[in-house]
């Protein structure tokens, strides 16, 4: 699994470097704005989409399935890579907010963003592993639309959490969220593995 993660980092090293440099520059210029704080989230999805598109464009899923690899390993490596870049992106965002003058990002806001992104990935990945990256078939378009709606709802929850509105007084909210997130992500991984094992080329 580690080799697959290293492979993704290796392939996207150029894109990552550009994003990090651009982000730092953007943050320095716009430190007073809240916008730069969201840039790592975009960065995560951009990098993930790039990794998936790269494999898909070159038709490499069947190629990797011909290597001595379990399909479950391939699925878990993709999840691990996504969570690693997500974590790295948010860490970068949090560190930047500490270094650059302005209102620093709270850890809670970082956590909420992480949770929102994790939910999104948990919804997206099973579809990806079942159908691939291309939204060509009609049923997939419908699923894609449903996914977008669901992602929007989760994003909204994440924003509410970020703002600390409504739920701020609930004790140990983060613990519940971690439990739910762990459950959803675990279910998503199992579903993705089952789907990917059934995938044919």
């Amino acid at each position: 699994m580690i080799r697959l993660i290293i492979k993704d980092f290796y392939l996207l090293r150029g894109a990552m470097f550009i994003w990090i440099v651009a982000y730092i520059g953007f943050y320095v210029i716009n430190s007073s704005s809240a916008l730069p704080r969201f840039v790592p989230v975009f960065m995560v999805f951009f990098l993930l989409a790039s990794a998936l598109a790269l494999d898909d464009r070159n038709n490499l899923d069947p190629f990797f399935c011909s290597l001595p690899l379990k399909r479950s390993t391939m699925v878990m490596a993709r999840y691990a890579f996504s969570f690693l870049i997500m974590f790295a992106g948010l860490l970068l965002s949090w560190l930047a907010s500490r270094v650059v003058p302005g209102q620093p990002l709270s850890l809670r806001a970082v956590f909420a963003t992480f949770a929102g992104a994790a939910f999104f990935l948990a919804l997206f990945f099973p579809l990806h592993f079942r159908f691939g990256f291309r939204l060509e078939d009609e049923p997939l378009k419908i699923l894609g639309a449903l996914l977008a709606v669901a992602a929007g709802l989760f994003g909204l929850v994440a924003l509410i959490l970020r703002a600390g509105i409504q739920f701020s007084e609930i004790h140990h909210l983060e613990i519940y969220l971690v439990l739910v997130m762990t459950g959803v992500v675990t279910f998503s991984i199992l579903l993705s593995i089952a789907f990917f094992r059934r995938r044919e080329w």
């Binding site: 392939l11 070159n58 011909s66 001595p68 044919e200």
Partner: protein, 290 residues
Amino acid sequence: METILEVKSVGRSYPGFDLKDISFSLPRGFIMGLIGPNGAGKTTIIKLIMNLLRKNNGEIRVFGLDHIKNEVEIKSRIGFVYDTPTFYEHLNLLQMKAIIAPFYKTWDDGKFKSLLRNFDLPPRKKIKTLSRGMKMKFALALALSHEAELIIMDEPTSGLDPVFRRELLDILHGLIENEQKSVLFSTHITSDLDRVADFITFINRGELVFSDSKEQILESYGVIRAGKNKISMSGGLARHVRGYRESEFGIEILTNDLAASKDILIEGVVAERASLEDIIFLTGKGLKEK
């Protein structure tokens, strides 16, 4: 002889296509050509062996192991080459190798470099600039650098120019010299089989026509050529007829037992050994309409 690949009564259904009850086996140290017209089911069989498609029934054993239960072990001992090799096109050959090599415990870097030299492949050339023939050679270099015992290739020669094709076939022939490796490759070009195959498995419309040694096939199959109305396909001959074609000049009949067919022929009828092309072309022809 040790059997390296065994396919037993394997079937797979698609809408509009059925692969029915396919059985064959490949001994170690030999080359088997999987032949049939386009759409016959050759690629489906190869994908079933590689578990890229799921079979509906039957059993596939590679190195004596079940191909699904022991997938990782089996694939570490197989070199697989797609009909259109796919790689990260923006990388060069060494970068692509750096991605693939760590997945094989038996990877031999020295051998890979030597294969690149032998195949005239420039290591720092970007994959997107390679021709189809060069990509095929690169895929073969990757497949051979981890001491694969079984090389499986799907239509490796289609679309290659004659020079590359001959070169590739020579490489395949060279592989089995130490009698430790075996090769299974699909093709619809009969001259490829003439050149290198020891065994031939012929698939037509999803059904196995025969799977036997090339010598045995060329020995037993024959073509009977006669003028119109000179020959009747009833009686003794009918048992051996595997296909026939009528034209304005006469009739061509494919028989799977040339010796037996010769005995029942009348004067003026020519019976001779069939070429692989005759066999592929005439098999099943005319019988449906009969």
